[in-house]
Symmetry: C2
Subunit: 244 residues, 2 copies
């Protein structure tokens, strides 16, 4: 079985941030597959079937998409942001690895504007120097790995972006994250909470680790932490290109 | 002096990866400012002045752009990729900090598809787990910081993206980078060289640290390193979402 599967990034929310490449792919699709709120962004039209599924079923969703592609349908799996950053691209290859009969499907990943870069742009240039991106959810990794990674990243003086910082089912972990970061970086370090960036619900708050509270983040928030040189200028926050 | 300055990301090269937001900003500009090869991507038209400048003059370029914006012109500073990732956004705020009379200019950063995410999309999902981005140029930071950051990032088991890996003036540093990474990660670790991604000159090579040679990179290359779990499946390379 062959066929082509497209995995496309819809960007953070604003239609003006969807690349023309993705727009063309969606216009040609017979099937769009994804998490409910992302599929809700796709306009219905004749000849297009929308397959919206719940969270935490990424592997089933990816397998279903590969199977439809193998059967000759023009399938687009949608992610918000960029599909390669804590989104569906890796899930598609995991599904392919478990289902060798689907390994002949041609997979094309179409990049998108990921949340941390949309948030950084709204705020100034907080990721203007070396930085890292960490998924704070422990659905897929032990918390001990997250903690170790946070400490090493702080010691490396990376600016940091945190995805999935806090959910109703694990509110304590973001509290621990802030405690670790305060210990490693001190209370004056700049931290930014960017919720629902580029949507009508957008909320952006700049504060310090000393003032940060866990409730400032939810699952629609991307959190950015400055490095030791990150500073404010007027309403902007930026990290200088130089260091040391 | 007030005025508005736009700093826009042109993406990695393919026109189909330029966001509609950036296309609109360019259509309305009176002046486009940037490094020669990026300004060369902008079509000439009546009423538009192109200001192309050489590399390593980012601060002068940024100050000039802020001054033109303050005088009422519609100025767009262009970067390739995303302006907030090792590009002009931070330089604009550095320039503003040095020239307080320009601090009333309204600066708008328009994000773009950054090279590491375009490269990752072409290859599969090598940045599908926690990752970091490091600028290997030591124009703006001591080499000792780069070396320390590389070792800590390896110990944290981040996938990594390296910008500006190698130039004619400092070929030895990428040699040292590969030596450090081999020491920390072993010879089997997957490394990817993505040159001129999404352009007609695109070249992508997947190999291991044991087989990697410094000449595989130049200034048009973004280099991606897998984490300990990164693997190949068919012609794709991906990093699983889970760890530990």
């Amino acid at each position: 079985m062959t066929g082509t599967l497209i995995v496309a990034g819809l960007g953070p929310g604003d239609e003006a941030l969807i690349t023309p490449e993705v727009t063309v792919a969606l216009a040609e699709a017979t099937d769009v597959v994804g998490y409910i709120p992302y599929v809700a962004r796709i306009a219905e039209r004749e000849g297009l079937t929308l397959h919206a599924t719940d969270n935490r079923v990424e592997l089933e969703r990816a397998t279903h998409a590969l199977e439809m592609a193998a059967s000759g349908r023009k399938v687009v799996v949608v992610s918000s942001g960029d599909p390669g950053v804590f989104a569906m691209a890796a899930a598609v290859f995991e599904a392919m690895e478990r289902a060798p009969h689907l390994s002949k499907v041609d997979v094309r990943i179409l990049p998108g504007i990921t949340a941390m870069l949309a948030a950084a742009a709204k705020i100034g240039a907080p990721l203007g120097h070396d930085f890292c991106a960490i998924n704070l959810s422990d659905n897929l990794k032990p918390w001990a790995i997250v903690e170790r990674r946070l400490r090493l990243a702080a010691q490396a003086d990376f600016a940091m972006a945190f995805y999935n910082p806090r959910s109703a089912s694990r509110p304590h972990q973001f509290t621990q994250t802030l405690d670790i970061l305060r210990e490693e970086c001190g209370p004056e370090r700049i931290i930014l909470f960017a919720r629902a960036v580029t949507t009508p619900q957008e909320q952006i708050r700049a504060t310090t680790l000393g003032e940060a509270r866990p409730e400032m983040a939810d699952m629609r928030t991307v959190v950015l932490l400055g490095n030791a040189s990150t500073r404010s200028i007027g309403r902007y926050v930026y990290t200088p290109r130089h260091a040391g």
